[in-house]
Symmetry: C2
Subunit: 237 residues, 2 copies
């Protein structure tokens, strides 16, 4: 936890308190903080501060802002992911948020098990986002959208998204074109398929609607590895 | 498992058999393969082939090579990692191998818990390498070295490694310099510290011995995220 995130409502309070049990446990148990120590604190979807602990007990910690500190840069990339296995979803969301993507879209695909859409993990997306923000020290959550139908998304939604960006790449292991080096713009869309990849029909439809299919050097990567790798390749952070 | 790896000894046999239980389980249980089906097969530290199943029973599967296929490109990067928590080690080795790094060095550092060096996980490095190769469809294992003393490695070993490369970057969140974009050469060394980062003394010693300290856009990344991200930034695959 590299930042203590406070609810937006706290913004308007004259005195600020940390009351969330998870945060208290971190501050007491992990940081062993005491009165007078400083903490990195952020208002959800707001500013980031260095704050000083001015009072603490087991149920709440009162802090006083010392100074405002700039937020980490966001990465102007929209990430479109075929809905991954529930156990992978947590890491994928957390890592993407940590790396600062501005928008995440979870999409159905032929090789996505329909049961994934019923997974209780999908109800916990906000928690995964929080973990990612806390890791990065960021306060702004990316927008997350879910599309349970592939074709309508690719034909009706994706083209508009692409118009607002400079490129859209779909990573596909069985294609000739390699991802170009030294892409000038960071404004783009990265699309990553399910385990086993998109089916040819899906790749064709993505290409027909404005995506370039590229391979990552004929190594087959796990989704979670591919996403961090691609964000490294395509963002300047 | 995107390739069936056979021991080097198999190379010299006139007939090839798959006998490893893990592989048999994958072929029967996951692929539901039958006689006449083809498999991606590789000889450890050797060539990669498309092979046909010509006979199978519960204890062994006999295959016949149909054609040789080229191996995935390696990534000419040496990865130096402060020894991570045991539970992170598996993923870190597996991902690095999947991404094709040529060499991995595990290093002690002030913030590395000494107990990590006694972890049973360290005895399983070969298994993690195998998982990484099977994921990537690769056959060549990277060299892995362990250094339990920081200073002697940085002063006596690292400078020679750097001489053979074009750059050596140590990722450090609390530094001004950003990682440059568009680095021409892929021949380099990436150094990633422990949770909590290297201590100032360690950073100074690394810089004094030829490393450039760079930050990744003041987002604090987990080691496993940082490694895939950096390999994306610095390799062209």
């Amino acid at each position: 936890m590299n930042i203590i995130l406070l609810p937006e409502s706290e913004q308007n309070q004259s005195r600020w308190f940390i009351r969330e049990q998870r945060q208290l446990t971190h501050i007491y148990g992990h940081l062993n903080a005491k009165v007078g120590d400083t903490l990195k604190v952020g208002i959800r979807n707001g500013a980031r501060y260095i704050a000083e602990i001015i009072a603490m007990n087991t149920t709440e910690i009162e802090i006083k802002v010392l100074e405002k500190v700039s937020l980490p840069e966001k990465c102007p990339i929209t990430l479109v992911l075929a809905l991954p296995r529930p156990k992978v979803l947590r890491r994928l969301i957390m890592d993407s948020v940590t790396l600062g993507v501005e928008k995440i879209i979870l999409l159905h695909s032929f090789r996505v098990d329909k049961s994934y859409w019923q997974s209780p993990f999908l109800k916990q997306l906000d928690d995964y986002v929080t973990l990612g923000l806390e890791q990065a020290g960021d306060t702004y959550a990316p927008e997350i959208q879910l599309y349970q139908r592939f074709k309508p998304f690719v034909e009706d939604v994706l083209p508009e998204l692409i118009q607002q960006k400079d490129w859209a790449y779909v990573a596909h292991p069985y294609i000739e074109n390699k991802l170009p080096k030294n892409i000038a713009s960071e404004q783009g869309i990265i699309i990553v398929g399910p385990e086993g990849g998109f089916i040819p029909y899906e790749i064709d439809l993505l290409i027909k609607n404005g995506c370039q299919a590229i391979q990552l050097g004929n190594r087959i990567l796990r989704t979670e590895t591919a996403v961090s790798y691609l964000l490294g390749r395509l963002s300047a952070y």
